[in-house]
C-alpha cells in the first residue's frame, strides 16, 4: 500500500487515547502551539493524563483548556506561572493538590525528550546542580564539575504544529515554529502533526525538517503562513 499519512480530521489523526496517557504538546514563545489538536484532545476527553509542554499556563496555548477541564493529573513543564498576581486555573488546582507538577530547566527538558526519542535513558548534565529543582538527583563530578543525572522523558502521544506536511509524514516548520516539536515527535509512540498545508507529492528532501518516520498522521488545518 502506498504510504499516505494524511488524515481528514484531528480526531482521525489522534485516534483513541487511554486514560493516564502521557501527552506531549509543542509550542513556545507564541509559535508552534498545536491548538487544533489540543481542542480535539479535549473532545476525546481522556482522564488523568500527564501533559509534557513548555508551559502549563501560556495564554496562547490551549494547554490551559485541558487543565481547566480537569483532564490533567500531572504536568512536566518549565513554566507554570500565570500572568499577573491572581492565580491561574492551573495554580488554583496545584495549590489545592489536585494536579501534580514537575518543573524542569528548559535545556534539561528538551534534552530529556530528545534522549527519550534517541534511546538514551539517562545523561549527566551541569544545569540544575545545586538547585531545588534537582534536589535528590544523583550527582557525579566530571572534569572537576558536579553534574546531575537526568532521565529520558517518553510519551504515548505527541501533538505538534508544523507548516507543511506530506503523505510520508515529512514536516517542515516556519521560522521558530519547530521548538520542541522535533524532539517530542521522536519521543512518543504516536505523533500527529497539524500543518497549514498538506502536500500531495513528496516534500523535496532539503525542505524536510522532521523525517516522516517520526510522524504517524498529518492533518491540514490551514491558517496564515
Amino acid at each position: 500500500m502506498a504510504i499516505d499519512k494524511r488524515v481528514q480530521s484531528a480526531a482521525d489523526g489522534i485516534g483513541p487515547v487511554k486514560d493516564g496517557a502521557v501527552v506531549m504538546v509543542s509550542g513556545f514563545g507564541g509559535a508552534g502551539f498545536a491548538n487544533i489538536l489540543q481542542d480535539s484532545l479535549l473532545e476525546i476527553g481522556p482522564r488523568d493524563i500527564t501533559l509534557v509542554a513548555n508551559s502549563a499556563t501560556h495564554p496562547f496555548s490551549h494547554t490551559h483548556k485541558l487543565v481547566e477541564a480537569g483532564l490533567v493529573a500531572k504536568v512536566i513543564v518549565t513554566a507554570a506561572r500565570g500572568r499577573g498576581s491572581d492565580l491561574s486555573p492551573f495554580e488554583l488546582l496545584w495549590r489545592d493538590g489536585k494536579i501534580e507538577l514537575e518543573c524542569v530547566p528548559q535545556g534539561s527538558f528538551s534534552e530529556r525528550i530528545r534522549a527519550g526519542g534517541a534511546g538514551i535513558p539517562a545523561f549527566f548534565t551541569p544545569p540544575g546542580y545545586g538547585t531545588d529543582l534537582c534536589a535528590g538527583k544523583e550527582v557525579r563530578e566530571f572534569n572537576g564539575r558536579p553534574h546531575v543525572l537526568e532521565t529520558a522523558i517518553t510519551g504515548d502521544l505527541a501533538l505538534i504544529r508544523g507548516d507543511r506536511g506530506d503523505r510520508y509524514g515529512n514536516v517542515s516548520f516556519r521560522f521558530t515554529q519547530m521548538n520542541f516539536g522535533h524532539a517530542m515527535a521522536t519521543a512518543c509512540g504516536h505523533t500527529v502533526a497539524e500543518v497549514r498545508e498538506a502536500l500531495d507529492e513528496a516534500m523535496p528532501q532539503e525542505e524536510v525538517q522532521l523525517p516522516g518516520v517520526y510522524v504517524n498522521s498529518v492533518v491540514a488545518v490551514g491558517g496564515e503562513p
Binding site: 507564541g30 509559535a31 506561572r81 530547566p105 534534552e111 551541569p126 546542580y129 538547585t131 519547530m178
Partner: protein
C-alpha cells in the same frame, strides 16, 4: 549624575559585549541591551527558542507570528542568522558556545551564586525557563539589576536567601549605581556613580566589597525613556 535608568544600565552592559561574540539576553531588562550594542561590533544574539542571530523587533505590519524570540517578541533575523530546534539550541547553550549571557537577578552571592527564578510568591507556580541552563552553560554570566530592592535591602549578599538558579556562575554585575566584578577574593567595584561614596556602597551591600584601585566613575549618555 544620578543613578542610571534601566536603559542606561542596558547601555552600560552593552559596551562590554565582545566583538564577534555570541550573546543571550534574558527576559525583561536584559533584552534592552540589544538596543545599545556598539555599532562597530558585530554581535550575534542567540535566543533559546532556537535563533542564532536575532535582529530588531519587527515593524508594525511586518510581523510574522512564527518568528518570535524566547520572550514572545515578534522579531526579525539579522544577516547570517539561522534557526534550530530547542534541543539543539540548548546543546549550543550547555556546550559552552554562548560567550556571554546577561540575566536579570534577585540576588547574587559573593561566590557567584545566582538567584533569579523564584522569589517565593505564595501559591504562584514556578517559571524557570532556560535560566538555569544559561547561567550554567554560558562562558560568562553577567547580571543586570538594581543594586538594592525597592525596600533598600541589599541584593549582593554573602549567601543567597532565595532558591538558587546556579552556583558560582556570575562573573559581573551591572547595576544602577555600580559595576561589580565577582572575583575569587569577592565583590570588587570597578565603576561607581560619582554621587555614591565607597562607604555608601558598602552600606548598601550585604557582603564585604572592595573598590578596585582603578575604579572609574560609572556613567552613561542621556537616553530618553
Amino acid at each position: 549624575m544620578s543613578v542610571l535608568s534601566r536603559n542606561q544600565m542596558a547601555w552600560r552592559a552593552a559596551q562590554d559585549l565582545p566583538d564577534g561574540g555570541v550573546v543571550n539576553l534574558g527576559l525583561g531588562m536584559p533584552v534592552l541591551v540589544s538596543n545599545y550594542m556598539p555599532a562597530d561590533r558585530d554581535i550575534f544574539l542567540q535566543s533559546e527558542n532556537g535563533i542564532l542571530g536575532v535582529g530588531p523587533e519587527a515593524e508594525d505590519g511586518y510581523e510574522d507570528r512564527n518568528l518570535v524570540d524566547a520572550g514572545s517578541r515578534r522579531i526579525t533575523l539579522r544577516p547570517g542568522a539561522s534557526i534550530v530546534d530547542s534541543a539543539s539550541s540548548f546543546a549550543m547553550i550547555r556546550g559552552g558556545h554562548i560567550d556571554v549571557t546577561i540575566l536579570g537577578a534577585f540576588e547574587v552571592a559573593v561566590n557567584g551564586d545566582l538567584a533569579n527564578w523564584d522569589s517565593r510568591v505564595p501559591d504562584k507556580g514556578p517559571l524557570v525557563g532556560g535560566a538555569m541552563d544559561l547561567a550554567a552553560g554560558a562562558k560568562s554570566t553577567w547580571t543586570l539589576m538594581q543594586y538594592n530592592t525597592r525596600d533598600g535591602a541589599p541584593r549582593l549578599l554573602q549567601t543567597c536567601s532565595l532558591p538558587l538558579t546556579a552556583p558560582g556562575c556570575v562573573k559581573r554585575v551591572y547595576t544602577d549605581i555600580a559595576v561589580v566584578e565577582v572575583r575569587a577574593e569577592g565583590f570588587v567595584a570597578t565603576e561607581i556613580i560619582p554621587t555614591i561614596s565607597a562607604e555608601d556602597l558598602r552600606a548598601r551591600t550585604g557582603a564585604s566589597i572592595t573598590v578596585a584601585d582603578d575604579c572609574r566613575p560609572l556613567a552613561a549618555p542621556t537616553i530618553e525613556d
